[in-house]
Amino acid sequence: MDKDCANVDELLSGYLDDELTQKDRQRVDRHIEGCARCSARLRELDALSASVSRLRADMVPEDQEEWRKVMDNALERTASGIGWVLVVGAVFVLVGYAGYEFLLADVEPPMVKWAVGALYLGLAVLLLSVLRQRLRARKTDKYKDVEI
């Protein structure tokens, strides 16, 4: 394939899709008039493009039912996400407030205050470490896509 054919070949898809400038279009027209090889190549790409387009009915779902389901699930997921954010936020605020009240409360002996504080801190650390493990497992679990 000479250089001119190679340059025109790059333009053939744009020619078929009517996406070339007028200048490039004329250039392709002039070339394929005198080049059997590029002319055959254009016909080949045209036939192929038509074959792919004919598959459209099979490959592009016409009915909206599947899309409706997807939308409904997405909306549910968004709603449940908002719900979780509200619940977790409220729990944090309440626990923080309870801790604050507890620290200010006049409890005797002070040792009890420290012990309860350590208990809550320990529970929080354990919860965070379990969450971290779960997240790591979720990212690296090679069997996560296996359907049971």
């Binding site: 070949d9 898809s13 792919v52 598959l55 899309w67 997405a74 909306l75 997921r77």
Partner: protein
């Protein structure tokens, strides 16, 4: 953008997103996941800027990026740099000559499904969703000239595979 307006726009572009995800992933469950993610992202972000293209292009770009994430995660089809793939032009039998239309359609369908995603996505956007080069460029985030060369490489790759059945 208001939620009701977004929902209306999503209803219009959703089936195209569905077609893109289905054909890129070849798997109904993954496609549904991708679409749900894309819809959730649109509803959360709500920052569509009309000066940067159509809503359809924006939505399809979100769907396409999520599909590529999933393909990378699954490593089913490693992405190839289509710009570097050499595609010699051979002068052999044309697709018209090798089979009847139905046979040809079956071959094309099979070969299309096994093309690298980078080729597949651009063919889906052009041939199935009937998008112009400018819109495809916005979805793939590449200039129009690159769309033309990528599409040409994709068609050439498909033509070569179809020819091999002749």
């Amino acid at each position: 953008m208001r939620r009701a307006q977004l929902m209306m726009q999503l209803d219009q572009v959703g089936p195209s997103g569905h077609a893109l995800a289905m054909n890129l992933l070849g798997n109904t469950a993954d496609a549904a996941d991708v679409l749900q993610d894309a819809v959730a992202t649109v509803l959360r972000v709500r920052s569509f800027d009309p000066s940067r293209g159509t809503f359809k292009a924006w939505f399809l770009a979100i769907v396409r990026n999520r599909c590529l994430d999933i393909l990378r995660e699954h490593q089913r089809h490693p992405l190839v740099d289509v710009e570097s793939v050499e595609l010699p032009v051979e002068e052999t039998d044309s697709p018209e000559a090798i089979a009847s239309q139905d046979e040809l359609a079956a071959i094309v369908k099979r070969e299309l499904a096994t093309l690298p995603p980078a080729h597949r996505e651009i063919l889906i956007l052009r041939e199935f969703l009937d998008l112009g080069y400018a819109e495809i460029g916005r979805i793939l985030d590449v200039p129009t000239g690159t769309v033309m060369s990528r599409l040409h490489r994709a068609r050439s790759a498909l033509a070569r595979r179809v020819r091999s059945h002749g």
